[in-house]
């Protein structure tokens, strides 16, 4: 079954019949089987699904971190599929932001330096007003000169969020950003991810396992076994949980 969802003109990211196959022969794994999806500008989309269903793979392919076996991916007006290294570099620099589960901050740099790193790599100056807004949004004013080791997990993830926000990318991809956080810090991080969508028209695509986290999104896309199987608009934790349960049952049969 191939589901095409969320048709809209001004998609920030789009996948068109994307297949991803790892390995070959005996070891072959088909991680994505013909996924087509659009992620509208200015919306917060969550991707959910059982472990191994291909969520991270989809995200990596969308972000141009990994190549697709078949199909096309585009970010804004740029077709990602087929870009060379310099094109991909430019894409990552200008159009894409990342938030990782393991924070992934440079241990040798301070929080502020980590936040400004993408801009300094691209050789750009931060917009001071926007920088201040971001810092205020993530609430890190008094932690800017600390190193990652001197910050809590929640604070580190907020630094990572600020780093993704500060260059105002077309899309921010977040892979289980709250996976390593307790529920309170998680809620804080999710809160300002949602704010940045609401107030600053940022586009965010987030992979998560947690129905409560998914409820912060405007829309949830469900993956199972490498295919999009369902979606919810304006989800709540309950509706997400329900859908997940429905998905789990046939999956177990499948196993």
């Amino acid at each position: 079954m191939t589901a095409t969802v969320g048709q809209q003109a001004q998609a920030a990211a789009r996948a068109n019949d994307v297949w991803k196959v790892y390995g070959s022969g005996e070891a072959q794994v088909i991680a994505l089987r013909g996924v087509s999806a659009e992620f509208e500008r200015g919306r917060f989309t969550a991707i959910m699904g059982p472990s191994g269903s291909g969520k991270s793979t989809l995200m990596h392919c969308l972000a141009g971190l990994d190549s697709v076996t078949r199909g096309t991916v585009s970010i804004g007006a740029t077709t990602v599929t087929g870009l060379g290294d310099s094109g991909l570099t430019k894409l990552r620099r200008d159009k894409v932001g990342f938030i990782f589960q393991q924070f992934n901050l440079l241990p040798t740099l301070t929080a502020k330096e980590n936040i400004l790193l993408p801009l300094s790599i691209a050789g750009r100056k931060p917009d001071p007003a926007w920088y201040d807004t971001v810092i205020k949004t993530v609430g890190l004013q008094d932690r800017l000169d600390h190193r990652p080791a001197q910050l809590s997990g929640g604070q580190q993830q907020r630094v990572a969020c600020a780093r993704a926000l500060v260059s105002r990318p077309e899309v921010i991809f977040a892979d289980e950003p709250t996976g390593n956080l307790d529920s309170r810090s998680g809620a804080e991080v999710l809160g300002f991810l949602r704010n940045s969508v609401r107030e600053h028209n940022q586009t965010i695509v987030m992979v998560t396992h947690d129905p409560t986290a998914a409820a912060y999104a405007d829309r949830v896309v469900f993956l199972a076994d490498g295919q999009i199987v369902s979606e919810l608009i304006e989800p709540t934790a309950e509706t997400v949980l329900d859908t997940m349960k429905k998905l789990d049952a046939p999956a177990e049969v499948g196993n």
């Binding site: 971190l65 620099r93 790193l117």
Partner: protein, 851 residues
Amino acid sequence: MFRATLKSLLARKVRLILSGLAVVLGVMFVSGAFVLTDTLGRSFDSVFADGFSEIDVNVAAKPKVEVNEMEGEQTAAPLPAAVVDRVKQVPGVASATGIVNADGARVIGSNGKVVTSFGPPQLGENWIGESDLMQLREGRAPQAENEIVLNKALATTAKVQVGQKVGVLTAFESKKRDFTLVGIMGYSGDRDSIGGVNEVFFTTPVAQRLMLGEPDTFSSITLRAADGVSDETLRDDVARNLGADFDVKTGEQVAADASASLKEGLSFFNKILLGFAAVALLVGTFLILNTFSIIVAQRTRELALMRAIGASGRQIIGSVVLEAIAVGLIASVLGLAAGIGVGALLAFLFGKLAGGLTLAGIGVPAAAVIGSFGVGLVITVVAALLPALRASRIPPIAAMQDVATPDRPLTKVTVAGAVVTGIGAVLLFLGLSGNAGGQTLSTILGGVLFAFIGVALLTPLISRPVVSLLGAIFSWSVPGKLGRLNSGRNPRRTAITAAALMVGIALVTGVTVILDSAKGSISALAQDTIKAELVISGQQGGPRPPSFDPGVLDKAKALPGVRMVDGEYGDMGRIDGESTWVAASSDIASLRQIFGAKATAGDIDRLGPTQMLASSDTATSRGWSVGSTVNVQLTRGEARTYTISGIYESSQLTNPVTLPATAAKDFAIPQPIQGFIQLAPGTQVADVQPQVETLLADSPEVSVADRDAFIKQQTSSLDGLLTMIQILLALAIVIAVLGIINTLALSVLERTRELGLLRAIGLRRGQTMGMITVEAVVISVFGALLGVAVGSGLGAAVVEALKDEGITDLILPWGQMGVFLGLAAIIGVVAAVLPAVRAARINVLGAIAHD
């Protein structure tokens, strides 16, 4: 980006310092070499400028035979005393003084031994009175035939006092003659000598007779210009007046020339030091390459993150290269500083050894600074380039995954290694077979370099079986097994670390093979050919070989049981305009009877006063045959024509040409420098030796030894050379040890988590240390094995190429090789100490939580 690079550099300073140390040592050699030669060069300048400060213009006869610094000393032709009077007539000359000044005045110290010199000449001069420069410190001037004055430096070394009897050997008398020391002189500024030169002052007639061999002659004439006459004008006037047979120079010119000829010797020394710098830097390159590779591997995640947030591949290369530049800069600064220290120290030691050379201030020439920074930066950046490229190829996705970079196949490296080794072999073949045009040395060196790099590239492939074989020795214990597995884990890393050690050990082994083979071949030949039971000779210290009184030869001949005695003389002469080593034998029959020469043409048993013998090689290359006539100019006397009357087969032991004994009086050293005594059958060596010793009592520069001792003594100079080269190359090995420490320390750091886990499941501290030590020993023994193999190969190739030069026996120093392997094991243990301690101290809990 720049900032991120600097920060990450600071965070890893310890590792970079370790790898930078290799560059520091290499750069130290470079700057040390330049500082040393500059300092000594300027010291020579000032010494000579001082020595010739009392001279406005100097007149000397043109030397009969020009010799360069490498061939021996220049001996000036004597100048008739009448020239002094002639020069005095030249307008503008205020005074003209005839000077006797020749090498070969050897004083016998109060211990009965000859005072030797390691460089500066031992001059015998005529006393020409005190001046601003020269003053008597004690006593008075020499007035009688048997009176001398010594300079203070010589008097101090010889431990003699005014009033004592002092024995002196002179240029024309290698038999001790006793003089009374009547005075001790010194130089202005409280200097005991200038440039460590030993000086004996005689009365003028005695100096002429004993140092120049002819009465009424001088070595040179020093002139002072009258007021208002410039040195240059006077020089030109005198030169015009005397004609083309004389060298007329201003004092400044003489000083500059004298200094320049010594500096030529220095530049040779400089090249040797730079050669060792090159070795150190080659080893250093391996080290830096390895360190940066490991650092890049460890930073994979960090670099991938940079890529994910938009850094381009070029920026990644830039950041790694920037790190390299920073390391290179710091290392260059440190190396330059260390080099200045080492250069100063060496200059000081050299000054001491050369008998108290007054050093000019330590100078840091531009070449030292440029060389240091150039070499330091280029080496570091070149070495970091490969790892930088690898870093730029890290996929951004590696930031999110624990992508274990798969073991890339070794095919490419191996093919590259085979090609490079092949190029090296071809270059070596070309160079050694003499087919490299005029570029023999550089072709051979290039071949060696390519061979090293090629083998280093092949090392990863070789390392697998060898390391697992070596490791098998330790596999009886768990830590041993783990250590062995670890050393086989990253073949490239192990390979480069081992290759760094290989270079040093291969060079030492190669040099040892060559020198041992040379030594073995020469002594085998000497054993086979020399038919003399006793040999008279001495150890050469300075530029002048020891000699002895020719009277000893006749007296020895008269001893009961002695069948034949031969005295050997030698000189650098010019034959038909070409510099050639010429020899003379006191008894020409010895050629056949003692040295086993075979005639290939003509008669070699007799030699008339105008006849000459040549070796077959010399005859061929110069196109001579029996009956050819040649023009021979010796150090002294007029040129003479000789007819070739016989040709003998060339061997290591034959001289290029042999002149009749009568020619020896015109040699620079007119006394025999070696004596060979053949005993009648049935005569005991022990019966004759003491009697010859007695005969030599007045020739203390030489002694008599039996044949075996003589051969050993002859080849012992090669031992000295070998030891010196080994000491210098040991530095390359020390650098390689740093490399092992570095690799291990980095590996330990990299495996913090794993080590923590091992400790958590019960590996004891001692076992952890054992594991690291096994890894180190395996790597270093592997490197030593490679080195011994490559070195033997290179050495054998050179020996093969030198077959025609008489190195016929290939001698592999098995004992030495065993020592190197043993040493390598010890090196491994030593190198493992710090990393092992560090590994053992790992905090178990922290390591497991370590990200």
